[in-house]
Symmetry: C2
């Protein structure tokens, strides 16, 4: 071990090598959600490499320290590689790190979730990726590593967050009705706020605009809305009473 106490900071940095130290593996994993056929689904990918080779897993992997500027960049790069497009909404959830989760050794993963409109994510599906429908608080089949648990952690965050944000719109196609928003609540929470509450919250001037189109069905024609180009995710200071 070199005695560093006499070095200047410049000298210290010149001799510093991150690989001189025992360090954990460090990855980013993303839980990509889409709303498809009235249900919430998660994208999984077949692993072609050890460990957990031939098992299904969440998209993710190593940070490329030469290419990625920050952790969000890593997450979007991994998503684009699997889905063909970056996520319209991406949020970091939690970092899980312990001795047990990876057979290679002490491993950290920074867990994100991403919201995709069902349609867009369908066009570019690779043969080794698959959208799995949620059953309870994870998908209905065992995934590699602790990825079933990571889905549960992300889903819990999404379930909390839809109650005080405009997030449901990121799971819908470009044009949608208020009844579609209600369907998203139902898929995520198993219940939905009254249409009056949805209307009060989502029909505000900074979020949605009337597309000029209507959807015709068995009821009276429903207005099709779309997200304003300038709209950011909105946060509200009340939860819905009826979904708690």
């Amino acid at each position: 071990m070199v005695d560093h106490s006499q070095l200047t900071e410049a000298e210290y940095l010149a001799q510093y090598n991150v690989q001189d130290f025992d360090a954990p593996l460090c990855t980013v994993d993303i839980v990509p959600f889409r709303f498809h056929d009235h249900r919430l689904q998660v994208l999984t990918c077949l692993r072609h490499q050890h460990p957990a080779k031939e098992q299904w897993a969440l998209p993710g992997g190593y940070i490329d320290i030469n290419q990625d500027n920050d952790l969000d960049t890593t997450a979007q790069r991994k998503l684009a590689a699997k889905i063909g497009t970056e996520a319209p909404y991406l949020e970091q959830v939690q970092t899980v790190g312990n001795q047990q989760r990876d057979p290679r050794g002490w491993s950290i993963t920074v867990v994100y979730y991403a919201l995709f409109p069902g349609s867009a994510a369908n066009q570019t599906l690779l043969s080794d990726t698959r959208w799995l429908t949620l059953q309870g608080n994870t998908v209905g089949q065992p995934l590699a590593f602790d990825h079933n648990q990571l889905i549960s952690v992300a889903l819990e965050r999404l379930q909390n967050k839809v109650q005080y944000t405009s997030l449901p719109v990121y799971l819908l196609p470009e044009c949608f009705t208020l009844a579609d928003i209600s369907d998203v609540f139902l898929a995520i929470l198993g219940k939905t706020p009254p249409m009056r509450s949805i209307r009060n919250r989502f029909l505000n001037e900074d979020l949605l605009e009337d597309s000029g189109e209507k959807r015709y069905g068995s009821n009276r024609p429903a207005t099709l809305y779309r997200l304003k180009k300038t709209a950011a995710a909105q946060f509200y200071n009340r939860l819905y009473h009826t979904t708690q």
Copy 2:
């Protein structure tokens, strides 16, 4: 580069070396809050090593992959080394990772905050640690790396969370009055809910118990409560109207 495609998983793991790969630095940093003299304070430590030598910084450092079982263990170990005791409340906030935050290279830090009662944390103060009072959304002096920003991120989480949890009690000494809880709200939020709301929320059978003692002052004697030994942090489904 070895061709791994013909290896079994056991053979792959036997030859795997985490140090064969470019990886970011990986640390844990903790924002330790205490409530002292009616104000919220953060513990900082003088750095004795490069980089940022002789600057004040948050407690934290590397994961010890031979000793720590998980990330929470790392955080509590780092706190105990500086404060002499683990935190009664510890919560992971966010992981910050990018190319810019550390002169040694791409760096990730898993950020926690911890809540300490003012008194306990005072007894064991080392000469190279210092409690700094919050001014606005960080401490009033520049810290090493992005640590001023990390404090802001942790404070924002704490400010949100005190509005729907029992967290204020973790910043108080063993015995406290309802007025003390109100003082904690005031220090964290700059405003406090009505005493009626505090009473409704905190005086429930699973959280606090009457210590049997009273505090005597200029008003009528105030009941001193303490946290029940079995009490866990509580979550409520409404925010206070008056603190939003």
